[in-house]
Subunit: 490 residues, 2 copies
Amino acid sequence: MNTLPRTVTGALLTLLERDGVLPGTLSTRVYRAIRAAILDSTLKAGDRLPSTRTLAADLSISRSTAEAAYAQLEDEGYLTRGVGSGSYVSADASAGRHARKSRLNAAASPALSKRGTQIASMGGCVDARVVRAFSAGMPALESFPVEPWQKLLARHARHDASRWMMYGDQQGLPALREAIAQYLSLSRGVHCDASQVIVLTSSQQALGLIAMLMLDDGDPVWLEEPGYRGAQTAFSGGGASIVPVPVDNEGLRVDEGLRLQPRARLAYVTPSHQYPLGVTLSLARRLQLIEWARQSNAWIVEDDYDSEFHYDSRPVSAIHGLDQHERVLYVGTFSKVLFPGLRLAYLVVPRQMVSAFVTARSQVDGHASPLMQAVLADFMQDGHFMAHVRRMRELYRARRDIFMEEIDRHLRGRLVPLAAQGGMQTSCLLADQRLSDQRLAGIAADVGIDLPRLSRLYLGADKRNGFVMGYSALAPADIREGIRALARIL
Amino acid sequence: MNTLPRTVTGALLTLLERDGVLPGTLSTRVYRAIRAAILDSTLKAGDRLPSTRTLAADLSISRSTAEAAYAQLEDEGYLTRGVGSGSYVSADASAGRHARKSRLNAAASPALSKRGTQIASMGGCVDARVVRAFSAGMPALESFPVEPWQKLLARHARHDASRWMMYGDQQGLPALREAIAQYLSLSRGVHCDASQVIVLTSSQQALGLIAMLMLDDGDPVWLEEPGYRGAQTAFSGGGASIVPVPVDNEGLRVDEGLRLQPRARLAYVTPSHQYPLGVTLSLARRLQLIEWARQSNAWIVEDDYDSEFHYDSRPVSAIHGLDQHERVLYVGTFSKVLFPGLRLAYLVVPRQMVSAFVTARSQVDGHASPLMQAVLADFMQDGHFMAHVRRMRELYRARRDIFMEEIDRHLRGRLVPLAAQGGMQTSCLLADQRLSDQRLAGIAADVGIDLPRLSRLYLGADKRNGFVMGYSALAPADIREGIRALARIL
């Protein structure tokens, strides 16, 4: 990625002057100038823009004018704004430019296919790469038992070279599949054996394979509204027609799904604690969902992404264990419960589908790292895994308590936390729903605070403004400091 | 996968008896009995069948009758036959059964979507997992410099935990991208910098991303005939319409491609030494291909899978370096030149497409292992990589020489080796083209010899019978012994 030459503000000034006769507020004019620079390729995908502070100083405009312009550009997909890392011209903008060019000149073929343009315009699945208040879904890596892990890694690296250098089992290392099946049976009430477990590199890969094998173009899919963006990109990318189904305090409203689109082929749910609202799918709804799937030969994709962390009661067992009809595909990942760099996840499928999934998996990406699978299998077998889960459950519970107390102390009446009985983050609504979470997140980003926006996770027009605030990776002092800094902004 | 209970031969006998009144040779009746058992689910996907030897003994039929029945079942996709590991009911059969059921009963929804059924029926990308004469594409793992690798792994594992545990760069570790760009510039004449390199887990993943972003459903794609099956599954899986374009002694016949389908969106080629025929794409054809791509806004996918190994002359530079119009996407992998278990490969794309590819990559699978990328970056930077390439070039050249001598000594007039100036395997035609490579491969498999079939790599009806025979991973004694065993069979 290039860094923008400082002369760009000169170019922007020229554009602003050229635009001088057009109507519009100052922030609209700044927005138009930057957009024009992107569309005529003066600014290219990946170019970094000056901070709103610098831009405001350079153009002699107020900071909030610059902020409003950037917010609109981000909203329309021209900019991607990272916390601390600045604002960049986005891939979407580039794709948009190509689409525009091809409209202008039908003879010139766009670089990407229609599908490619659509996929690029959905944006990527971006995970925070630095621990910061209040990035969501980050494990407390400093508490990971790195020593036993290193020992196991060293042992396998030294003694089993011929095994980890060779092509591996495409379904996954049998010892690891055994360990996963055992863990899921004991801890999550999933009824499966190792022959149904497929080891993958990420839960995103699991969703992609499900889209490939279970859906045809245009097939309707229920997604939770609000919900996980990665599921939307995976299923949209697979050509599905997305049906956002609202979530209430019992989770997915199955009745609404039936009303909106009873012929859906698949429902994607996060029943343990819904992402991002945190509610648990009630037993009645679970049974209703299973009954729907049975009657209409549809599928339930159960994403149990961080179900290990329930703080106030025993976690509810997985839907998988309730289902007598083999309609559930169960997805889990080690990115949250161990560490994201591990690149291991898993999918449990009905017995008659195993070979189709292994075939498709081999077509998209061969198999997962044999060395990392061997290390993880031992880590689980030796009891380190369950011990770590228990320790993290205590640690995250304590952090959640501090987080809730601090919110209550410093942001009462401004931020309203939702269900927080589990997980690694809690969604908080803005008490004043007329405030834009996008704008506030932009301001917070400038002081180094990451506020993942709730409104982004809605697909429909009825969005709520708020933040999906992570606490699991933050030391108590960082939680306190972050909340106080936030209190000064909100 | 289940192992078949021994009583299955009893069930087969019953089926044979029931079938007794139907006409047909004995082998046709055995074929029909097994197929019936698969279709009525007596035999399920993954079930293992008895060896032809055992079946022949159990049913009191000749070995060649059993072999003919198995060959027909394999040909029609009911069985998958692995060397040494036996014969299994294939996923294809299972998919076929579902398709059949759904035809019989339109009310019952098949488990897989239409696309899923098609994807599963293409079969998986299967790589040999045991070194054996004459599996193709296997590096000599015992010659890998495992000690420096282990040292680098131990060093990174010990000191950089916070880095390898976290989410990584979705495009790939910058130090590794630098090392790859430098290597490609120096050794392959690829004109790129690190910002155009995308680190992936496999070249198969690269092909999948290209299909996602560059193709729409039904877009025609030129594939070499015969050619790499993995490319076919990736592009067919992405909805492309495959156009097999014949290969002659100058490589892909661009003129035939233009005649068959001038409006193709993409051409997939292995120009360095064509897989599986081993020829190098001539300069005239390269220029013709680039000119076609430029004129028709089409893309060239250059898969340089084992270009490191040229034995009799300097390797020809990549097409990528010849192309002035940014029409080439360049794919490479470390599976062949280092080891398959590493799970690292790369893709070089035109500058304006980088962000779209990184976005799509994040949607399908996040990023590659940060730890393995860091180890590989150091391994390349410290010079181990190039030293290893040079050593393997010498080793494989010597093995190729022995292989060719042995073929000449023991199989002259029966097997005709094709171009063998590079790579890790050489295709050999059956001198008598009336012989079926499938049948011979089945017989060889029973004595523990793997003969990857050439005829499988043709998509059209005009197939040649032969074998894609690997030698790179075989010690001289194993090459000699394997060729002698083969001489007794052929």
